[in-house]
Each structure stands twice: as C-alpha cells, then as structure tokens.
Amino acid sequence: IIRKFKEAFEAINDSFKETFPAFFQGGYGELQLTDEDNLLETGVDIIVQPPGKRLQHLSLLSGGEKALSGIALMFAILKVKPSPFYVLDEIDAALDDANVMRFGDYLQKYGTDSQFLVITHRQGTMEASETLYGVTMAEEGVSKTVSVKLI
C-alpha cells in the first residue's frame, strides 16, 4: 500500500513538473509530501511558481493562475492514470483568451485517449471540440438539447 502511494505520488509529481510549465510557458510546479516518513498519513502540498515570479503562498496567485494550476494538475493525473471520461463544468471561466487556447490544445492532445464533455461559454474551448451540444429553455423552466457535429 505504502509503495503504491509512493509510486503514484512520484508519477503524478513527474507529470505535473511537465504540465505546469507547458501551461504557464515556463515556471515551476511540483507536489511535496508534508511528512515523508509517514506515507500512510502524509498530506500533499502543491508548490507553484509562475515564470519569473518568486515562490509565495498559493493564496497570492491570481484567479486565472489558480484555475490554470488546477488544470495543469488535472492533466498531470490524466497522463498517469487516464479516466475513461472527464466531465468539466466551466473550468475555463477564469482564463484569459490565450490560456483558453492552450487549454483547448491540451484537450485535443488528450482527447484521443479519453472522452471529454466540457461545459463552456468560451469560444476557444468550443473551437477545440468535435461536437457541440446546445442546451436551451425554449419553454421557460424546461431544458432541451440539440446536437451539432462540428467536423
């Protein structure tokens, strides 16, 4: 059990060290164990440092930087142990347009291994998708769906 935890931790950590700079175009991100000698109970800390910036509390990051770090971590885990499908509700809401494009590129990169269902209001994310499902309430209070295949 402990060995499995250690292996999973190392794997996600190595993966996150790659995905973080990919999304931030530089910088550094890693996971750290709060108690290396007690793998049964240790907590997991997240250390992120956007390019050029100094290490500081996660709380001081911007709204978009926090969202992008969460996205980088999600793709890091995906590389280690892909879930068959992902359902993501507006995880791009806080991103600026450039970061939305990067997110869209990653979706396409991993869209072959896993299935993605993403809720979004952002143009860039829609453009990265193969199918669009529209949800509307033509009758007030009652939802209906319509699907449009893009390519």
Binding site: F5, E7, A8, F9, A11, I12, T34, T42, G43, V44, D45, I46, V48, L58, L61, K66, S69, G70, I71, M74, I77, V80, K81, P82, S83, P84, F85, Y86, V87, L88, D89, E90, I91, A94, Q108, G111, T112, Q115, F116, L117, V118, I119, T120, M126, A128, E130, T131, L132, Y133, G134, V135, T136, M137, E139, E140, G141, V142, S143, T145, S147
Partner: protein, 165 residues
C-alpha cells in the same frame, strides 16, 4: 470505455425525456445561463452514485426531481440512465455494453439498475470504484471547483494520490 449516451427524465430542469448521444472525443456543452448545462453534469454525478444532496446544490435528495414551472406541475420521479461502451472491459462486468439507471421518488425511495437488473446503491459504487470515474476522483469537476484543489488542506489532497494509486 466511453459514455455512449445519457438519458434524463424528470431530473431538475429536464422535465421531458431527453437523450444525449455521445461519440468519443471532445464534446462541448453550451447554452445560456440557467439553461441546464450544470444539471447535465449533476445528472452524471448522480447516476454514478452521488450520495450528498449538497454536492448537487440541493438540501435534500428530492430536490433533484423536477419541481414544476408556471405552466407545469412537479413530477413524482427523477430518472437518469447512462450507457457505457465496455468492449475494453475497463468495468469488471462481463458485458460489452453497460446501462446504469437510477431513480428517485418523492417519498425518498430509490431504485438502481445495472442492465435492467435491480441492484443496491453500493453495487453501483463498486462497479465504478476501480475505474477512475467515481465521484470522489477528479474526473467530474463541478462548476467553480477547479481552484478548490489548490485551496484544500494538505490532508484532503492526499486522496488525489490515493485515487491514482
């Protein structure tokens, strides 16, 4: 393994029977504020075995049953069915296709079916437990939750590693 289709009936704003056919790959769900997009996400969480009404923005589980509009009466039952392609046998069941159904009545009584056979809620949990899909993983990320992973406490974050191990 992938989601082939999702059927909603009487679940939140989906009063009428609605079927969403999914291909593999990347699908985007779009629409105006309040149209029902997050309700679709919660429908998937729910049919995968979600037990907390609060995680579905409700106070009690019956809050997921369509509660009527100016023109329509409330319904007595909510039902969600999900059909999964299991040709790679990622799910530990000897079927090429697996249909999971969950129902809830106003009384609070629930029903759970796997390929038409009545099962208990924990059988649904067990089915998805090792596949990485379960709701305690990170595969379903609800609205406003992407930053939470950074803001959570170190002890809670260990579950990310445990889930992957």
């Amino acid at each position: 393994m992938y989601l082939k289709s999702l059927e909603l009936q009487g679940f939140k704003s989906f009063a009428d029977k609605t079927k969403i056919e999914l291909g593999g790959g990347i699908a985007a769900v779009v629409g105006p504020n309040g149209s029902g997009k997050s309700n679709i996400v919660e429908a998937i969480q729910w049919v995968l075995g979600e037990q907390s009404a609060k995680s579905l923005r409700g106070h009690k589980m019956q809050d997921v049953i369509f509660n009527g509009t100016k023109k329509r009466k409330p319904l007595g039952m909510a039902e969600i069915s999900i059909v999964l392609d299991n040709s790679d046998h990622a799910l530990d069941l000897d079927f090429e296709e697996i249909k999971v159904t969950r129902r809830l009545y106003r009384s609070g009584e629930g029903e759970y079916l796997i390929n038409g056979k009545n099962v208990r809620l924990k059988d649904i949990h067990r089915l998805f437990a090792d596949s990485g899909i379960g709701n305690d993983g990170y595969a379903v990320i609800g609205q406003g939750r992407i930053s939470e992973i950074l803001e959570s406490r170190s002890e809670d974050r260990r579950s990310i590693v445990e889930e992957t191990a």
